[in-house]
Amino acid sequence: MQDTMTAGSKAVLSSDALQALIVALARQGYTVLGPRVRDGAIVYDEIASSGDLPAGFRDRQDAGRYGLEPREDGAFFGYAAGPQSWKRFLHPPAQTLWSAQKTPDGFTISREEVSVPKLAFLGVRACDLDAIAIQDRVFCEGPYRDEAYATRRANVFIVAVNCSQAGGTCFCVSMQSGPKADTGFDLSLTELLDGTQHRFLAEVGSEAGAALLAELPHEPTTGAHLAAADAIIDNTAKQMGRHLDTDGLKELLQASLSHPRWEEVARRCLSCGNCTMVCPTCFCTTVEDHTSLDGFSATHVKKWDSCFTLDFSYVHGGAVRTSGAARYRQWMTHKLASWIDQFGTPGCVGCGRCITWCPTGIDITEEAAAIRASQCVKEESDGGA
């Protein structure tokens, strides 16, 4: 069999090859980041070996709820999106942009040099791949580019994992972002477990991915492997915990800015901003200026911000969005409607994190459905009149 790999090439790996993959990435100078169990949740952090992966865990997610449970089959990737996304590595929570130094006749400004580690992301789900693609548009395709982001992004190697188990708050099928990773990866894996054998179907997404796969011990695929992988993805697609009807949703929301539902959800919303922090596409930042104690140097630091804070919309005289209703409306209409005007895609990939990590269990799909339902009632009664 010919062994030249190109994008789209597939091969079968044994579960031991996962260790070989991590070693090969490290040898190429990558810091490998992947899922690990910490404080009762699956987070992304540095991993040294496949033994660090959360094998034998599954998660239970619902609105405002998250928990890990053991699973029998020893799957490495048998869980859905955890509280963190890859956003923190590409768009760090705090970043010094520049600093200023006092001089006898004024001051000087020096740009912060961006240190660019080579990062390999192991276990990126389809929804999160789409989220990365969305942030690429936000940061790299406007009239101004975020160079620090672009530089970090260009140095990332991505190993995607197709989901074999949907979470209770997932709705990637509605957002057409998953459960299968179609593009945006160097290599993708589908975990195949059939009771006797534990293998991965690997698919090449880039030249770098092809080169890496060629280094790993692998076997050719058979029709049975491909059929098994397809069946896993079909099954995951049927397990979606949530559903969002996106048909005409942008227009619907933009026509519903005075809807009473905003007041209703505001009674449950704490304006804590958790939803924006866990969201893999939310990109808003603020800046803070700090001065040294002697007053001679100053830094200008960019930090994640949330549209749920009062300060976010502050202008002289007071915040524009004083009510919780206006802030929730801003967030949800941005995600599902105005983002489309701005970037040609919704700002939601259906990962479900905002639902799971909301302390009061507010559910974006339920809020959208409620607005749609009352809108339909209104139309019907208008029509019937």
Binding site: G106, H300, D341
Partner: protein, 284 residues
């Protein structure tokens, strides 16, 4: 993925201010000064009327401040700053010779070219005259290209009237219709009293061939939109300058959103038709 192009790093980073020196400070009002800033090196970038810069005061932070100077003059940026908080206070305290940081210019501009051949109605409230002043300079310098030109300016109190000396000069011109009004007249005031939108219906312009440019507090702009539309001016030919919290000015921080618009890059100057759907709503 792995092979994205790293060679695109630009010469200057849009997040990093350039250094400027204060060359002149003019006290306009009790709480307002006009600063003239010259680049420490290189040429002052060109700008269009209505654009703004991000001014940085050492250690305190940055603020969006409109350019209030004459676009035909080279060498410096002119900014009129009202002291309302930490950054604007530090900027207002700059003295001749003091250093400041500056990024820009940013944003969209008044349609001074698109308005050629038409009547022009400029409606300003309070400090809103500052971002309109470059447009006024341009229009007056090219007066023969426009139809009737009216400037309607309203302030809360007589003591808030900006650029008094220039207003007096413009008023002496026979080819400009300038009206100043105050909300609260006192014994020293012998001019018009009342809010500026109420002047619109007393102003002579051809509603079918007029471009209006409006800047001031949001409530004043709301009434002005109503008055201009009531007079028959098309929403597409009424321009306003929006104000929203701004941290980056380059479309990356999300703070300045107004519905789908990023005020920093899709504005601040927008045709009313673009925002009419949401302009009257609260807390957008």
């Amino acid at each position: 993925m792995g092979e994205a192009d790293l060679s695109l790093a630009p010469l200057s980073d849009p997040f990093v201010p350039e250094l400027y020196r204060t060359v002149r400070v003019t006290r306009e009002l009790r709480d307002t000064v006009t600063l003239e800033l010259a680049p420490l090196s290189g040429k002052r970038p060109a700008f269009e009327p209505g654009q703004f810069n991000m001014l940085y005061a050492f250690g305190v932070g940055e603020s969006a401040i409109s350019i209030s100077g004459d676009p035909a003059e080279e060498g410096t940026f002119v900014h009129t700053v009202r002291n309302v908080g930490a950054v604007s206070k530090a900027l207002s305290a700059l003295e001749a010779g003091a250093a400041a940081g500056l990024r820009g210019p940013f944003g969209t501009s008044w349609p001074v070219e698109g308005a050629e051949g038409s009547d022009v109605v400029i409606v300003a409230g309070g400090l809103g005259l500052a971002p309109l002043r470059p447009a006024i300079y341009h229009i007056l310098a090219n007066r023969d290209r426009y139809g009737r030109v009216s400037i309607l300016y309203g302030c809360r109190n007589p003591g808030d009237i900006l650029y008094r000396h220039e207003l007096e000069q413009w008023r002496q011109r026979l080819d400009v219709d300038l009206t100043v009004t105050v909300d609260h007249a006192d014994a020293s005031w012998h001019g018009n009293a009342g809010v500026v939108p109420s002047l619109i219906k007393r102003t002579a312009f051809d509603p079918h061939d007029t471009v209006a440019m409006v800047c001031g507090p949001e409530i004043m702009m709301r009434y002005s939109m109503n008055a201009l539309r009531g007079a028959g001016v098309s929403e597409k030919r009424i321009y306003l300058s929006m104000e929203r919290n701004m941290k980056c000015a380059i479309g990356l921080c999300g703070h300045c959103q107004f519905g789908p618009e990023f005020v920093c890059k899709d504005g601040p100057v927008v045709p009313y038709s673009k925002v009419a759907r949401i302009f009257a709503l609260r807390e957008i």
